[in-house]
């Protein structure tokens, strides 16, 4: 049995801002642009009480919370803090898989300090982070990544929650499906319609049934419903692409329909990239026809795509390449790859987007 810890900083960007500027403490703070097209990259807990969440448009956020203070992000500072916490993790194990600046999985089964209790390690890590950065983190401890992640989320902020092997299955059974990591809003809605509301409901489904309705992910759902997740903690993990796709209830035939359906996919991918400062140079469009023939079209630019306008334009250019369609389209997907580390971009002469 493995010992996995998931560490997640509490309201990371916003907490760093409150730490560095006492005037912001105890107040609703949103990190991100305040302007018309800005989005909230992170919200302080005070702001969350008003219903302000990350990835929400700044306009909506300001309406929900009129006293909301907008702060420009300082990614350099966040990166510095991220390196500090990373160093803390590495005192305990080389098996650290960062998910973003403020989140990581640790495999402490065989740790460098020879501490037997993963809960004890989590407690020490939290204390060290607090001491070195004056910031709080939440930790989840369990025997696989899926449960560790759910555990860290269970008691936020400044939480420490343990799901022991004996409790795993029971814990999942009572958990509503929308709280499962890996089950998004759309999938959760689909499951609700099918009467699958909790982990137990999910566990009662046949694997073949889940695969039929959710494709490859169905198999993953089948196993996590039983508390099984064999994915290793992978310290080498580097994100290679960001993508989103959608399968449609009815096949798309017309140009107008395709353009309409591509729009939310463009939104999805861009929102994510924008939030995590991910810049890529290759846009790929994936199209699956009703006879399951799969094709893709892609375009690579000389320098990373920084604006939604450019991203959108290239996406529609790619769509134009497959128009007019000869047969119905059942799936559209869009991804951004050839990602560049924002650190490598500093001092770089940017190139025109063509």
């Amino acid at each position: 049995m493995r010992k996995i810890i998931h560490i997640d900083m509490d309201a990371f960007f916003a907490s760093v801002e409150q730490r560095d500027n006492p005037a912001l403490r105890g107040k609703p703070v949103a990190v991100g642009g305040s302007k018309e097209r800005g989005v909230v990259a992170a919200a302080s807990y005070e702001a969350r009480k008003f219903g302000v969440y990350s990835a929400m448009s700044s306009m909506v956020a300001a309406r929900k919370c009129p006293s909301l203070i907008f702060v420009k992000p300082r990614f350099e500072t966040y990166k510095t803090v991220s390196r500090q916490i990373r160093a803390v993790f590495e005192e305990y194990t080389p098996l650290v898989e960062p998910l973003s600046l403020d989140e990581a999985y640790l495999d402490v089964t065989h740790n460098l300090k020879g501490i037997n209790s993963a809960t004890e390690i989590a407690r020490e890590i939290k204390a060290k982070i607090k001491e070195q950065t004056q910031l709080t983190a939440s930790a989840g401890v369990s025997y696989n990544k899926f449960l560790a992640k759910i555990a860290s989320d269970y008691n936020k902020p400044d939480g420490l929650f343990v799901i022991k092997p004996s409790q795993g299955e029971a814990f999942i059974e009572q958990l509503p499906v929308h709280r499962f990591h890996g089950i998004g809003k759309v999938t959760a809605e689909k499951m609700t319609k099918m009467g699958i509301l909790t982990g137990l409901d999910l566990k009662n489904q046949e694997e073949s049934f889940l695969k039929e309705h959710f494709g490859k992910a169905g198999s993953y759902y089948y196993h996590i419903a039983r508390g099984q997740d064999d994915r290793p903690v992978n310290p080498e993990r580097i994100r290679k692409s960001v993508g989103s796709e959608n399968t449609f209830f009815t096949d798309l035939e017309s140009r107008a329909e395709l353009q309409l359906k591509l729009e939310p996919i463009v939104e999805d991918v861009w929102k994510y990239c924008d939030r995590y400062q991910i810049y890529g140079r290759t846009v790929s469009l994936k199209v699956k026809y009703k006879d399951f023939q799969l094709i893709s079209r892609s375009k690579t630019t000389l320098s990373p795509i920084f604006s939604k306008t450019d991203f959108e334009r290239i996406a529609y250019e790619l769509l134009d390449l497959i128009l007019p369609v000869e047969k119905g389209v059942r799936l559209l997907g869009l991804s951004l790859s050839n990602l560049e580390d924002p650190n490598d971009l500093i001092g770089k002469q940017l190139t025109l987007p063509f």
Binding site: F75, S307, L350, L352
Partner: protein, 374 residues
């Protein structure tokens, strides 16, 4: 074959077309001028296969014939001679060429003129008349932004878009882009082509600076320019020019309006302190306030200046390559200019405040990424 010509007249004509000749041509005969005589009319041709320049002049003769003579040797000889009538005496069997002057006799070994590559002829084409000074302005306003990158051949020339309303001359090296539009150059049919940089540079240096009419004919593969007694033929770049219109940002709410000379002066001083390879400078903009700064971390040099300006928009910091800005500002003939921006990672637009008649110029420049992402 024999003819008499003024040494200075011949030197002037040859100097005008000599630039075509490459240093190490692919085929050795291209180190020569092709000289063709038809009684009083002497035609001289220089070529590098891509570009051909032809000039004609009057000489005293009653012969016809042709010869290829080494360009460098002939030019050096003419440059060293005092102005005088000189006599060329060509032996059509051996291709030996003798120049007889008051100072003495010079013998050059020529080559068989038949070996000189054929010059493309105008075929069914599109014809446009342009005043020499207008064409000259179009070239000098764009050529500095043409790319040197042979991996993207489409960008190694100036893109010309002819239409019935105006003509665009567009150049880009991927980092900046110039679109120079003339309302007084039009064509009945729309057409586009990419003219290589070398040809345009040669054209620029041989064009008169008055309104002499230049006739430009374009066929599928070649462009033909003729004016006075000079003709130039160049091969067009057969590539697709980037879809540049889409790269022009449409919404640029942050507008800096400033005296061109003052901005230029400041940039020149500040850039001395910038990093020697990136030439990165920083513009810090807030309401009616501009601070230009640069630092070279390698030598811990730094400089900053505050300038009077008119700025409307969000507070922002944006980095640019100072060399690009200076080069572009040097090519604008307006007292005041505006720099229109949207974000620190999107192109800035330089637009002259005073517009000249029949002319519209748009310059785009991509920023340099700064470390503090605003």
């Amino acid at each position: 074959m024999k003819f008499v010509v003024s040494s200075s007249v011949l030197l002037k004509q040859l100097s005008g077309i000599n630039g075509v000749i490459a240093n190490n041509p692919v085929i050795p005969i291209l180190e020569n001028f092709l000289i063709q005589l038809d009684q009083n009319l002497l035609t001289v041709t220089a070529s590098d296969l891509q570009t051909v320049m032809i000039t004609t002049l009057e000489v005293e003769s009653s012969n016809t014939g042709a010869i290829a003579v080494p360009a460098r040797l002939l030019l050096d000889t003419l440059r060293g001679l005092p102005d005088q009538p000189i006599t060329f005496n060509v032996d059509s069997d051996t291709f030996g060429t003798e120049i007889i002057t008051e100072n003495g006799r010079y013998k050059l070994s020529g080559e068989n003129p038949v070996d000189f590559p054929k010059v493309p002829q105008v075929t069914k084409s599109l014809s446009v008349q342009i005043a020499a000074d207008v064409l000259g302005a179009a070239i000098s306003n764009t050529i500095f932004a043409v790319s040197n990158d042979d991996l993207r051949p489409a960008m190694t020339g100036v893109y010309v878009q002819l239409s019935s309303e105006y003509t665009n001359f567009v150049a880009t090296d991927g980092h900046r882009l110039i679109r120079y539009r003339r309302m007084d150059v039009t064509s009945d049919s729309t057409s586009t082509m990419i003219i290589p940089r070398k040809a345009l540079n040669l054209l620029k240096s041989s064009l008169p600076s008055d309104d002499t009419t230049v006739t430009a004919d374009f066929s599928q593969a070649n462009a033909f320019f003729s004016f006075n007694n000079i003709k130039m033929i160049c091969r067009l770049i057969d590539e697709r020019f980037p879809d540049y219109e889409n790269a022009i940002p449409q919404n640029n709410p942050n507008v800096l309006t400033i005296n061109r000379g003052e901005l230029l002066g400041s940039l020149k001083r500040i850039s001395i302190y910038s990093n020697k390879t990136t030439h990165q400078i920083r513009l810090k903009l807030s309401s009616n306030d501009l601070v230009i700064s640069a630092e070279d971390l390698d030598y811990s040099n730094e400089a900053n200046e505050r300038l009077m300006c008119d700025y409307e928009g969000d507070d922002m910091e944006i980095g640019f390559n100072a060399k690009f800005l200076i080069e572009m500002l040097n090519n604008v003939n307006s007292n005041m200019i505006s720099l229109e921006m949207s974000a620190p990672n999107r192109a800035g637009l330089i637009v002259p405040a005073d517009k000249k008649e029949n002319e519209d110029i748009l310059m785009l420049v991509m920023p340099v990424m700064l470390n503090s992402y605003a």
